[in-house]
């Protein structure tokens, strides 16, 4: 069935089901939150919030998966056990992730989609605020496409006068599509002054069954990745296991201040890269596995009022360690290429706001300010091991240059001038720097170097509320992304080909104009935003010749690849523009309908060069940007039924994406001719008893559609059932 017909058919079905489910509900409307968020000063920006209660009912497979229903967000997966949210067409190191005010991004985040958002345990997340559009003023480098601000579940203090109370919680779930079992136990200890939570969970996922093979739009043949088992639906190179644990202690140190100490540990093992297990033209058994994807995060801090100029403050001292151990095994030849890359990050951040300053009449001023600094230190090594002789041969270097460091630091101020409740003007600016310290490369004889860049950002926004329920917003933003160690020094095989490092890269600087309008009423919540981001120095992939390959052992691997490329700054401006919207309706007290839709279009100058990407040579002066999602959206209906029961249905859809960058044409994750559109339909039914018990059953991909998100190497799950039980006291 063509994608359009498929979509229409599913849309009709959801309409029918919506009427059916709507017929039998009677509970009061859930609270409608009109305000945006208390992330400092973000109310005037395009944003949305994904909440834990929604996770409980939609059963996301991962933290990225939890964002599928957020407007402007699209989720790409290179592997079953990986996921990368794309916001406004930006992904990887062009989007910032922060956990409770601590920056997750480090200097090894690729400009392509990466797996790091997957290292958050969705079960431990309270909310994820999705900030769309440039946000470097508040969050520093990387926040070009936006920011994902993760607020973990935190233990609550006991009500005044209450004694120590203990609140255990157990959660378990099963999914049939990948025979996934997951469980988590946690408990909270609450007193008036001290609150503690500890928890641990485990997830095991086996091979993922898809609805079937996704075919190339151009020739109708099966796409090269993923590879399937003989049944035609079981995807090779899938499955993973995860152990996660966390602990948080909050202590009231004074009337205005709460001290916090928290630790998060994420241990993911045995995660094959679906596109390389086996590779498109490799022999069955050839497999790249992320044996260990570990994240450790420890931080301490203070929340509250530090003084008259610092209320609603957040101070964080943090340490993070990211550990990746990957092996590419070719059992036929008894060889295993191994690599270990570790990043230790030390950080300090502070954000705050002053007391409100009244300027007379209905006019007042809020001032937000903060500063942050992070230092990354890299360990990187690689080797070849011959398993029949047990010999191990060390390579001269790993993906990165061992001992390299990266520093980013800055401070910002942001003023909100409010004239009554009808007009808000926001002006903000940040100054800072980023500096990389690259050690010398013994393999290719390149000397050590320490490039440093100024990192400034600014924003100006105006929000008008002509009516209490109607707002208009218009704003401009200047954000930046300094090159990181991956951009400057990474040397490895990637989806589009062999990446040759380029230590001469300059920062990306982006100017965004966006306009939005919204409605906030009891029955309707509506947002729509249009934007146009212009990026100077956008990092793009320039095809390189074999003669450009580095010296040393990498030369053979580089020269033998289908294609080679180097990250370079585009020679003229690149553009990302689009429109997105979200509508939430509460037509009846027991019924909620929400819809999202987004469209983004990116283009930049043809990177040119004299070399073709494999055999592809494009002569047009401007070409699409890589992996920009197609038009996509969601529909979700939720009906509250009697006696604590609820039902829901949802549709996720995407159109064909055939606007491909040059590098997309050689990336086997993208079918030849683009990624076909899809419409996937889920239904769910559940029971909730207060906050103590949630039981949920979900029928996933009702029509067993064969589909995949654009840029992904793994097809979406086929039809299956998911069951979840959560009990707490």
């Amino acid at each position: 069935m063509p994608p359009a017909a498929n979509f229409v058919s599913h849309a009709v079905t959801i309409g029918v089901l919506a009427v059916t489910t709507a017929a039998s509900a009677s509970e009061p409307l859930e609270e409608v939150r009109v305000a945006g968020t208390r992330e400092p000063g973000l109310e005037t920006k395009a944003l949305s919030i994904a909440r834990h209660t929604e996770f409980e009912e939609r059963l996301p497979r991962s933290a990225p998966d939890a964002l599928r229903y957020e407007p402007g967000v699209f989720v790409q997966q290179t592997a079953h056990g990986q996921g990368s949210p794309i916001v406004r067409g930006f992904y990887g190191s062009r989007v910032l992730i922060a956990i409770d005010g601590v920056r997750l991004n480090n200097a090894t985040f690729r400009q392509g989609p990466n797996q790091y958002f997957f290292t958050l345990d969705a079960q431990t997340i309270d909310t994820i605020t999705v900030v769309r559009g440039g946000a470097s003023t508040l969050f520093g480098t990387d926040a070009l496409g936006g920011a994902f601000l993760v607020k973990p579940l935190a233990p609550a203090f006991a009500d005044p006068g209450k004694q120590l109370s203990i609140h255990p919680k157990v959660h378990g779930q099963f999914r049939s599509a990948d025979s996934q079992w997951a469980g988590r136990v946690s408990t909270e200890l609450r007193t008036e002054k001290v609150a503690i939570s500890v928890g641990a969970g485990y997830t095991y996922a086996s091979l993922l069954r898809a609805g079937g093979v996704v075919n190339n739009p151009s020739d109708g043949k099966p796409a090269e990745v993923p590879r399937f088992d003989r049944d035609g639906v079981t995807q090779l190179g899938t499955g993973y296991r995860i152990g996660a644990a966390d602990a948080t202690i909050r202590v009231k140190v004074s009337r205005d201040l709460v001290a916090i100490a928290a630790a998060q540990l994420f241990r993911q093992t045995d995660t094959p890269r679906t596109d390389l297990c086996p590779p498109p033209f490799g022999v069955v058994g050839d497999c790249l596995v992320i044996d260990e994807q570990f994240r450790t995060m420890v931080y301490v801090g203070l929340d509250g009022k530090f003084g008259p100029g610092a209320k609603n403050s957040k101070l964080r001292l943090s340490f993070q360690r990211q550990h990746e151990y990957a092996t590419r095994t070719r059992p036929l030849s008894h060889v295993q290429n191994g690599a270990i890359d570790n990043v230790s990050t030390y950080g300090v951040s502070f954000s705050s706001e002053t007391e409100r300053v009244s300027l007379g009449g209905n006019t007042w001023l809020d001032f937000f300010w903060g500063a942050d600094a992070y230092l990354d230190r890299i360990e990187s090594t690689a080797w070849a091991k011959f398993t029949d002789t047990s010999q191990v041969f060390p390579y001269a270097r790993g993906q990165y240059l061992e001992g390299s460091t990266y520093t980013t630091a800055g401070g910002y101020g942001r003023t909100e001038l409010n004239v009554g409740r009808g007009l808000t003007t926001v002006i903000g600016a940040r100054v800072g720097l980023a500096s990389a310290s690259l050690t010398s490369d013994t393999e290719s004889g390149k000397p050590a170097m320490t490039p440093t860049w100024g990192a400034s950002a600014a924003e100006l926004r105006v929000l008008a509320r002509p009516l209490p329920w109607l707002f208009f917003s218009f704003g401009g933003d200047h954000s930046f992304r300094a090159p990181n160690l991956t951009d400057l020094s990474q040397r490895q095989q990637t989806g589009p080909g062999f990446q040759i490092e380029n230590p001469a890269i300059a920062p990306e600087r982006q100017w965004t104009l966006e306009a939005g309008m919204g409605i906030r009423s009891e029955k309707v919540r509506f947002d729509t935003w249009v934007y146009r981001a212009v990026i100077d120095g956008y990092l793009t992939l320039l095809p390189k010749s074999i003669s450009d390959c580095p010296q040393g052992l990498s030369a053979e691997s580089c020269a033998s690849s289908w294609s080679r490329y180097q990250l370079v700054n585009a020679t003229s401006l690149s553009v990302m523009e689009g429109v997105e919207g979200a509508l939430k309706l509460f037509p009846l007290p027991w019924l909620r309908v929400q819809m999202t839709a987004a469209f983004a279009r990116g283009e930049g100058p043809n990177p040119g060069g004299s070399v073709a990407f494999k055999t592809v040579r494009e002569t047009a002066p401007r070409v699409p940007l890589s992996r920009v999602p197609p038009a996509n959206g969601t529909v979700d209906i939720r009906a509250t039924l009697p006696k604590g029961m609820f039902a829901g249905a949802s549709l996720r859809w995407a159109w064909l994406q055939s606007r491909l960058a040059l590098s997309d044409l050689t990336d086997y994750r993208i079918p030849i001719g683009g990624t076909p559109g899809f419409a996937v339909f889920d239904v769910r039914f559940g029971y909730r008893y207060r906050q103590n018990l949630v039981i949920l059953a979900q029928l996933e991909n009702l029509f067993d559609s064969a589909y995949r998100s654009h840029g992904s190497a793994v097809n979406g799950p086929g039809r299956g059932i998911s069951v979840s039980v959560e009990a707490s006291y």
Binding site: Y204, R267, D388, S545, K614
Partner: protein, 443 residues
Amino acid sequence: MQTSWTSLTSVNARRNPRTLCACNHWLTAGHAFPPTNGTTDATSQPLTSGAYSPQAGECRTTLMLTTPVPVGHMRSAFSLSCVVLLACETSAPGFSDSGPTGSDAPFADDGVCSLHGPVTVRTCTTSANDYTPRVASSKGTRFPICISDDNVYHPINPDVPSNSRIAAVEEMAKLLKFDGSARPTSDDFLKARVLYTQPEGLDSRVQRREDIHFAKATVNGVPKECKDMTPEERAPFADRCAGPEKLIPLINDALAKGAVGTDVTLQAARMEAAMVWFMWLSFYKESQGCFGDPGQCDSTSAYWGGQQDVNAAPLGYGKIVRNFSDESYRRGWDAVLAIRCAYDYGTAQPSAPDLAAVKEKARDQIDRMNNHALALFVRSKIAAMPCDAPYESLRTLGPVLDVVARAIDPAKADMLKAEFQKPAAQFNRDGVLAALDELFGCP
């Protein structure tokens, strides 16, 4: 043959053999992946011990102890800290010392035998259907007017990755002294193996190389590529799946034994034979695929000359042939240019009535050239007998010619097949040389 639907997943799923610290066992114990089936690393038996220092899996969690603590308590504390922190990370394995790891004992051939014997190539007339770009007067007569008529190979893409594979073969030839100039050391073999197994390098192509002289392999009657088959499925199609079924075991064995110093001269000869076999397969396979994938036209030239300049010093396959006969080497380029010519003709005139015939002529020319080249190599090894290393090469490569010999003269093919199975002492050296000359004497 009925195949279990789980067969591919059981090959695909694998465990990485590594030492894990205690706190990782809870993540890995009871692993639900099916057990490996003998093709994976976990079941590979080391040929030697002592080269590898099993330091992988050291736990980074350390306990600072200032007073003596009973071992049991220490273990408990260690385990507890691991469990609490869950922070154990696998660290890089201990690296092997360089230098000989085996006996490197002298081999019987050392200093006694030449690895290559002399080969006399008779003067051959050119087939009436052959493309002859070196003869200006033949332009437009045997083949249509085309891009190759200037006797220059015009690459379709400036970058030809296959060149790098031939460069790797050359590098291995130097490391392993294919010319017999010295004995390779076990360290040379280790380096050669590292080079051979570079990601996307030689090994990746050898693993999936098929001998397209044979019919396609099938699974349950459905044609499949060998790369998509399990070892059990491939086994009945060993001739077609020559890369994974014949070359890979040969190369693995030669490199592994060489890397621990076992009969290094003999292993080098086996590696040389394996590389020639690979180039013979690849030269033919790429040439036949050229009309569907232009990149394979360039690869054809790469497998012949290691580069695309007809007049430059050749590498790899062409270099070997030129050692025996410059004219044969030139005829190789004629054949490559014939393929390029036919591709050009097909691109310019896709509906030309004689296009199919032109392509067939080009294919035939390159096929004959390829077999002639391999036969020259085999003949040089016969000429170098009775030494063991050349005989090993001969025993490896002689049977490869069976499929093409049988298509020309089944009786001679039978004779050759029988001879290549005999011990060296009973080998009919002159008879085989004569038969090879009759079958493949002229390109």
